[in-house]
Symmetry: C3
């Protein structure tokens, strides 16, 4: 039956085969139809360089297939076996502090080491040859949670090659990095060190003497890691024609630029472990942002939640259990935002080591009467009930939020004006305002086609590169609205300042120039009046000189720039360009964002009901599905936003009817 | 005369011989009869590998003996001389960050380095041959404050040997460490790295990918350090038949498992520098716990306080002076808990380097009219007055508190549920409740014979190994009470989870299973009602499913598990098993502990008088001595708990008579 | 025209030559007459070891000279070029953690590396030969902001040489370092390791097992860095007879002992970037202290402010803009304290890398209508107006504040009594009290001639060396007052405790001994009554036993030493010796300091007007100039302290007339 894929990581090689029977009894109870196998299985698949052993994996795959489960087959290369590190010490990374590591942990192979590359690709190829034509295998999953970085000599040499390709010659490199500053003119590629604590850095990865060098190293390292994925994928493709290949991303993960990776994946997937936040509503918004980012990687196509925990994490200082109903609520939220698969890490608790307390569908005793199992099984039953109703459905959006790894990197490694500005904090604040408005939203890279949007929001668009400025002008010219914030338009793609008024290529668009940028400690608040309401602004305060025609929407209330513009709007072409020259609090951001949306009548359903999320998926046949999710702690009564049938309860509702939403309630309304 | 040994570390080699006369005049004034000599004297005892020079030590020993002082002769191997490190660089350790150290500091010799071992043992042997038959030498003191750890290649190889002995083969090792997780299956002993920041660790020594590896390395390192002690002791024993040999422990010192060491010491001794705590009463309890631990190392035999400061420490950020009377109060507390010696570090202030401000009996000016010297001398006079009254006396106890280094290590390196749980905090909380009840108490390892106890309290008994579960069942069967807490019964001796209901081997005993374990930030309080009183619970909240017959004594007041059991009691055999599924505040712990004690009528004298400690020692002849100590800041009047004579003031008191206890008061009541 | 030099760092090699025209147009507008060129230009001056290229610098110098600007010619050796580090890896430092760095950043050449020395000296010589007789070059500026430290083997060997010179033999070294402690007796110079994290240190540079070793290493390293300056200066002097040579200091910069350097500079200069402080008045006092320190380096001769930012810094976490008027106020404050030059870093914003947001006279767009440029230009006009009025003028002072790097180092690396005591905090507190009193003040080393002073204030004079004690006795004998604080008189020049009563050589002078030193956490306050007023004392509390004749001015109000002396005064000879045995709050310090000043009638003008600074310069001809500076946020009206003419506004004022001082107001009164 076609339905939302449900299941997760399954590592039966870690327990005796007699337990497998009980595993499948439990899967049956819980409606689990999809199993990810093979992750981190390298040591038993290849016990020595010259010896392979597929007996256990054969048994696992055969059993799963025989039981009718869909298999996600992972290459096990996210963790190397001891023999490999022992034979090839250079397969281990050199860390930011300049230290060569020895064997241990996982996710730590040097991406430039030829032996690791050779061995991992060979194993991926063997797996593909062996299992590639098994019809139960519905997807390939390469490696695991790619990330981190290496600063070894091999990476240094690969970095030189990468630079040669990017710049052609040292003159262009020296210009790009502005090396006349501090006498850094490089006269030989070999002189360029990997930027770390032994060379250009102090106080950690964000403090560098040369932002350009560090920025390029991050781009290079993202590409170097991608090289491993691409090579394994190619090895798989030698034996597997069509089965899609993916790897599991980690949402807003700074070290890897997923936009550079996305073209190489057949579909996107990610692991949903939201960062700790005492507010459930903020947490829900944060997950929605990440779902949006992932959906945006492949042009809006459905994605997979490759991992989420059934209950607790283990790696945090404090690991709370998921409250009753939260597993269901969050899982449906994933689906609401485009997930066609909801998978858990993990099917059964690990016996020992650092994840033995990580949540699992089955606990150490293997019980099926725990609270966790009961909730897992109930959700499985719901997925069965809903079937393929929303599979493949998309979310048409007229609003876009821009995300840019380069800007993220650049603004956080910048010396000045303010180290307390975190890119994701500002991004998430603007996202929350859009999310609260329940407007269908695309989260896209700065390279995205903006042709289909009415509103584009670009928080901290620090770097402006390629033809972005023109595309934004086009958007505004044809009647769209563009909204940007403080610290935008500052640097070009090499992180060199524009030798022009701030905000650089956008100064004319916004009709202003920033005369100077003040920064203050987090406890300093400057009130910004928007209409009759004052909002708190913090951290960064741009002193703006507007053009006469520019509309001043908000002014600072304090300091020597009191009364000068903080928020402006310029009419341009048939559209408008909005600028917020400071970091506003949530209500302030919401006020601006809602004004922009209102220009286009784009606020979504129940936009004024706090805590209630409404998301939409529309099937290829045009069937509209609204998901209503109550993330708040109280029951609320809301007007049903459309005529429809709740697929979860089977009840019919007319638009405007009262809908009772208990805490953690989910309604899946197929609209009529 | 037989009396409590009184004196301390004496390093006259650091000052001119003419000062020695003034030293002894001061010793005479202060009743000082015991001197520890030779600590850290290696460089002048052996100025080069092929040259020894005992002239100064001869003079020191001769003078001390001639003056009638008892000598504790130390081997100087706690600090190596520069020539040694220079000739044998591998005698220096490799630290947790993987860096080989060079010469400096102390307590830092690699325990696996053959040259250091050879040289330290040779010197110990020479000292024993030279001074072994000097009747003034009453004890040998090997090294100093053993601790720390090394991760060098020699330790790596020694670790492999240790593992071979423990596991026999790699299959058993791989099973013990659960290496199928993250592809860690070892196929050669050489592949096993010392677990540190370059291999399995991140964020420091408690964050490891493989708890089993790190746990074994801690056990190994404790044994490796012990190897140095054992080898030096053996060298001494070649020349010294009977004089007891010890080394100075450091109380609740996590890196070294004193229970593994205890059999090798002839008597236990320790250095009493309590951790900073703004509450004098908590500090007093903390010292009582450590005294108990040390006394428990040798089956309850008297121990020595080998060091305490006469006034200030120097190594802390803030080093307060001991308030008036505190030196006396704490010294008598030591005796009350079984010390037969009370020694200071140090007799005279060091002139330079990092301990020049560490407290001393004599200050830099050598005055005997300082407040510190006056208090030292007054205490010396009291020790003279009391003579041998309590020497050798023991403390019979029917209550035991279990301490387990393995559980301590395991729970604090565990990923999940909560990094904020500190083993010693919970241990100390339960100890404080017992201490406040003034009940005679043994602090014993989990291997102890429980046959003599009515009540056994086991906070955070995370690991359950060997036959412990059976011995606890026996205790309860024959009428005893067993009390355990959250996070108990979780792992076996390899730190693998029991594949059973939590708390593993004890689930049946307590009549419950833990369905899930919630964890919350330190500021989250869940009120737990015990009878009519609510207490604060924090950090960890086990959601308990009790058997029908299990008595629920306390329930959670908040969160989704409000109303479910937090504290339970199960009647088993003739006894009872108590379980506290969370971390209660002090009054909560006290309420539970007092209930358990009350089942056996075991609360001690003045159990309800805050701040007043009562401890007991009984001589071989049966003479009972009660020590009353007022750790509070106010004078209190208490009923005398027995007929007796205060040996300090010579006054007689009848049971029930009013006793006035000023702040810092001490009464030593010989009961009649 | 002779006037205050005005301008700053100018690096036109970083932008195209066509921009230079616009630079000079702006300089003209702003009255900029002085340009520092060549800083960090090594890579383009010497693109390879065997190739020099002076074309660009020739053009820069010719243009500046032709435009009538004064040139400060810098040797570019503060930043090495990539080819140098690549060819000579040992030119890079080994850091405190024992790691050899590779190429990156700046200010990081090993001072003991022979290749770096050879190459840097050769380049300095070439520059001197080429530009030495250019009359536009008014000063030479060697290197840049010397600082940091290296722990490489070459430095280790140089340290051994330095020690050999200092101690002659190992016996004296062992005595100086008190090496019998912890078995550290060195028997070969080679055994002495550079003290860092791999040898004597833990928890960073201030935690050392042997204070004596670390102290000597700091002295050595300060000398080693000085060696680089001296060698470059000598190379310049081979070609340049008279032009003065300097380097830019950094105020109260702990790693380098500027008193050891001062004799080698022809005039003193420094970079004025005051540490962040929310209080503008405290910031003003802090800058005044640093100006005083720098002026004191060359016996009171005028100095240069070599750098200050026109607006923001970039390197801090939060980089605020200078408020309107602050650039002018602070610049005039510099002049008031003896600066004859006020220079900015930098003339034009850097395009890229870590200083691209550092403030500049010209922004990235090159505008001359920014707020910053307008303020710069207005100040330039004022400097033109004032001309040479105060050039070369001095500040006669009868009060001295002692500063001692050795004491600073020693007290902060001391184990005990209290790590929370920061030397500069106490120094600054006493300075603030003197500054608030507007008394002309010299800030001088402990080696200074005290013959001309009536009052000498010595906060935390931890170390007493050479003939200091006698000179202080002389001061008091002839009628002067000496004021010292807690933690004074503790150690000799090797950091060994005086074997005498505390405060060592001063105990007799102050008429007291410190019986013990209590230390408490920062939140513990002990009230100290001075007359009728109670002040807060914190951190350190010396328990003082006074001689009968010693006057007790203040007593502790709490703890077991309540009622004992905290502040005392002893009449000695014709003078007085004041002692403050604790760390008082600002009002407490002010009360004591004012009492001392009042003994000599030395309080300055407007001493009781908060926030208003009055400073004085007297020309060689005896013309007295008073600078009045309002650092507060409010306008105040004050009586004019003398008859005179305000050179800035051209207005005449009689003594006692009302002067209105707006916030940030500056009055420069030439007295009549």
């Amino acid at each position: 039956m076609k339905r939302i894929a449900y299941g997760g990581d399954y590592n039966p090689e870690q327990w005796p085969e007699e337990v497998w029977d009980r595993d499948y009894e439990a899967f049956e109870l819980a409606g689990i139809d999809t199993l990810t196998v093979g992750v981190f299985a390298w040591a038993h698949l290849q016990p020595a360089e010259d010896r392979y052993d597929f007996d256990v994996l054969d048994a696992v795959v055969e059993r799963a297939a025989a039981e009718g489960r869909r298999i996600v087959l992972a290459t096990p290369t996210g963790a190397m076996p001891p023999w490999l590190a022992h034979a090839y010490p250079n397969a281990c990374r050199v860390d930011f502090e300049g230290r060569r590591h020895v064997y241990g942990q996982r996710h730590n192979a040097c991406p430039s080491d030829p032996d690791f590359r050779r061995l991992s690709v060979a194993l991926a190829g063997r797996l593909a040859r062996r299992y590639g034509d098994n019809p139960a295998v519905v997807a390939w999953h390469v490696g695991n949670e790619y990330g981190g970085a290496c600063w070894c000599p091999a990476c240094g040499a690969a970095f030189h090659d990468w630079l040669r390709k990017r710049y052609g010659g040292l003159d262009r490199l020296n210009h790009a990095w502005n090396t006349t500053f501090w006498s850094h003119t490089f006269t030989d590629w070999e002189q360029v060190p990997p930027p770390n604590a032994l060379s250009e850095h102090w106080r950690g990865p964000n403090h560098t003497a040369f932002q350009g060098i560090t920025l390029d190293y991050r781009r290079f390292m993202s590409d170097a890691l991608l090289g491993g994925f691409v090579a394994e994928k190619a090895a798989i493709r030698e034996h597997v024609a069509d089965t899609p290949v993916t790897t599991n991303f980690m949402g807003l993960y700074q070290p890897v630029d997923y936009h550079r990776w996305a073209p190489h994946l057949d579909f996107a997937s990610w692991d949903n472990y939201p960062p700790e936040d005492p507010s459930p509503v903020r947490t829900a918004a944060r997950m929605a942002l990440a779902h949006g980012l992932i959906r945006g990687l492949k042009g809006g196509k459905p994605f997979w939640v490759m991992e989420q925990t059934p209950s607790t994490t283990a790696s945090r200082d404090v690991n709370a259990v998921k409250r009753p109903g939260v597993l269901r609520l969050w899982s449906w939220q994933s689906v609401a935002h485009g997930a066609d698969a909801v998978l858990y890490f993990q099917m059964r608790h690990s016996r020992g080591a650092c994840e033995k307390y990580h949540g699992a569908v089955l606990d150490h005793a293997g019980r099926t009467d725990t609270r966790v199992f009961r909730e897992v099984a109930a959700l499985g039953a719901e997925f069965t009930r809903v079937g393929d109703a929303v599979l493949g459905a998309r979310t048409p959006a007229r609003v876009a939020l821009l995300v840019d790894w380069d800007s993220w990197w650049a603004v956080e490694m910048s010396d000045g004006p303010n180290r307390n500005v975190r890119y994701v904090d500002v991004l998430a604040a603007y996202h929350r305002a859009l999310w609260q408005a329940n407007v269908p939203l695309d989260v896209v890279p700065v390279t995205a086609d903006l042709g289909g949007y009415d509103v584009v929001v670009a928080p901290v668009l620090h770097m402006v590169k390629d033809d972005l400025a023109e595309r934004v002008w086009d958007l505004v010219d044809r009647g769209g609205s563009f909204l940007a914030t403080a610290l935008s338009g500052r640097v070009d793609e090499d992180d060199n300042a524009f030798l022009a008024d701030v905000p650089g290529p956008f100064a004319g668009l916004f009709g202003l120039r920033v005369d100077e940028t003040d920064a203050q400690r987090p406890d300093v608040v400057n009130p910004v009046a928007l209409g009759e309401v004052e909002h708190d602004a913090r951290h960064v305060f741009e002193v703006i000189v507007p053009e006469p025609s520019t509309e001043v929407l908000g002014t600072y209330g304090a300091d020597f720039y009191a009364g000068t513009p903080a928020v402006t709007r310029a009419a341009r072409g048939r559209g408008s360009a909005w600028y917020v020259g400071t970091l506003l609090d949530d209500p302030g951001v919401a006020a601006v964002v809602r004004s922009v949306l209102d220009e286009h009548g784009l606020a979504g359903p129940l936009a004024d009901v706090p805590d209630v999320e409404v998301a939409e998926r529309v099937t290829a046949e045009g069937a509209r599905h609204l998901f209503l999710l109550n993330h708040g702690g109280s029951q609320v009564t809301v007007p049903c936003p459309a005529d429809g049938v709740d697929l979860l309860r089977g009840t019919a509702h007319a638009a405007g009817d009262d809908l009772e939403l208990a805490p953690a309630a989910v309604v899946l309304l197929r609209c009529q």
